[in-house]
Amino acid sequence: MQVFHRSANTLSRFSIFGAVFLVAFALWFVYQLNRSPFATGQRDVVTQPVPFSHEHHVSGLGIDCRYCHTSVETSSFAGIPPTATCMNCHKQIWTGAAMLEPVRASLREGEPIRWQRVHRLPEFVHFNHGIHIQKGIGCVSCHGRVDQMPLVWQEKPLSMSWCLECHRAPEEFVRPRDKVFDMTWEPEDQDEIGPRLVRDYGIRSKTNCSICHY
């Protein structure tokens, strides 16, 4: 006597294959998800207490990165400008702008402005701006075209594999020291200058753990 209906045959075989594909798809999905901006937080614009526009200040007014990020060449931390730095200019221009009220308030009350961090590394990762600048890695390489960002967002994934891309092949990313802060610079022939700069700057491709993790 039959226990199952005819269709059970097709059904059972189909479901076996179905299961295989389902699992495969799930794995692929998770894999993609981990690399997606959703996970890395790329390109989502962070609202700041003051809507400071890098686009305006950098490409518009042509202010050098180091005018505000003073310690970027010397320290691990690039430095966020004190209110005083803003007011150097803004006590002359836009003195009444409502947009700048928080800045003036900060100076008045001696209360620092609390900026939202955009580029965040886990606390077990130690990144040093100074040495990267020194070895000819441009701001753009990691921060993207900040001069085109009204409000700054995170351009690159900042994942370990992303760091390794450069640490394994610095010659593909290194640029002349005088072009480090140049937002628009494009190499004519990276294959030519890359190896030369790696030699000149004594860049060693370091990928052992304690370079970043300690």
Partner: protein, 179 residues
């Protein structure tokens, strides 16, 4: 899909392996090709009796084993020597003796999968529905009875003729297997 024939075939029931085998051999000698036998346990020599001689399962398993070993070794070599070379305790990057155990395990694993799923595939299992189940007494095929079937799709199959032929083999009973 159902072929043209109005029944699946005929099913003859025997009550011990010996008579089943004799019957199966006679049937084959009679020139029937699409025959099969159903028993509660593997009966020695029955597959020859119904003219079924070899399976390519061992080859499949061998292939699975080789694939497993290569996969295992390749994965470890790639990860350790090519993708992220690290100095681990001063050992060489290609510490191939250390790759052996995992390669071996994967060889076994793949071979085992090949054996099981190969067998199921060749047997076209799972097949929860099969016409022979329509025969009431067929439930005894998993207890203590032995069955011989001739499919209607057999070129030599003529309904009455074949039934007469089977009854000549002195089974307990011959029954039609409806679709």
């Amino acid at each position: 899909m159902r072929p043209k024939t109005e029944t699946w075939g005929l099913l003859a029931e025997f009550d011990d392996p010996t008579s089943l085998i004799e019957a199966a051999e006679k049937t084959r000698e009679a020139g029937y090709t699409r025959i099969d036998a159903f028993t509660p346990f593997p009966v020695e020599g029955l597959h020859e009796a119904i003219g079924f001689h070899h399976t390519k399962l061992p080859m499949i398993v061998l292939a699975g084993g080789i694939l497993g070993f290569v996969t295992g070794f390749g994965m470890q070599y790639f990860a350790t020597v090519i993708h992220y070379p690290l100095n681990i305790g001063g050992r060489p990057l290609n510490s191939w003796p250390a790759w052996i155990p995992i390669s071996f395990e994967l060889a076994i694993l793949f071979a085992a999968f090949a054996a099981i799923f190969g067998m199921l595939a060749l047997n076209r299992l799972p097949e929860p529905y099969h016409p022979v189940f329509n025969v009431g007494r067929f439930v005894l095929a998993t207890r203590d009875q032995f069955f011989l079937s001739i499919e209607a799709s057999d070129p030599k199959f003529r309904r009455d003729e074949t039934r007469r032929f089977l009854e000549a083999l002195r089974p307990l009973e011959v029954s039609d297997v409806p679709w």
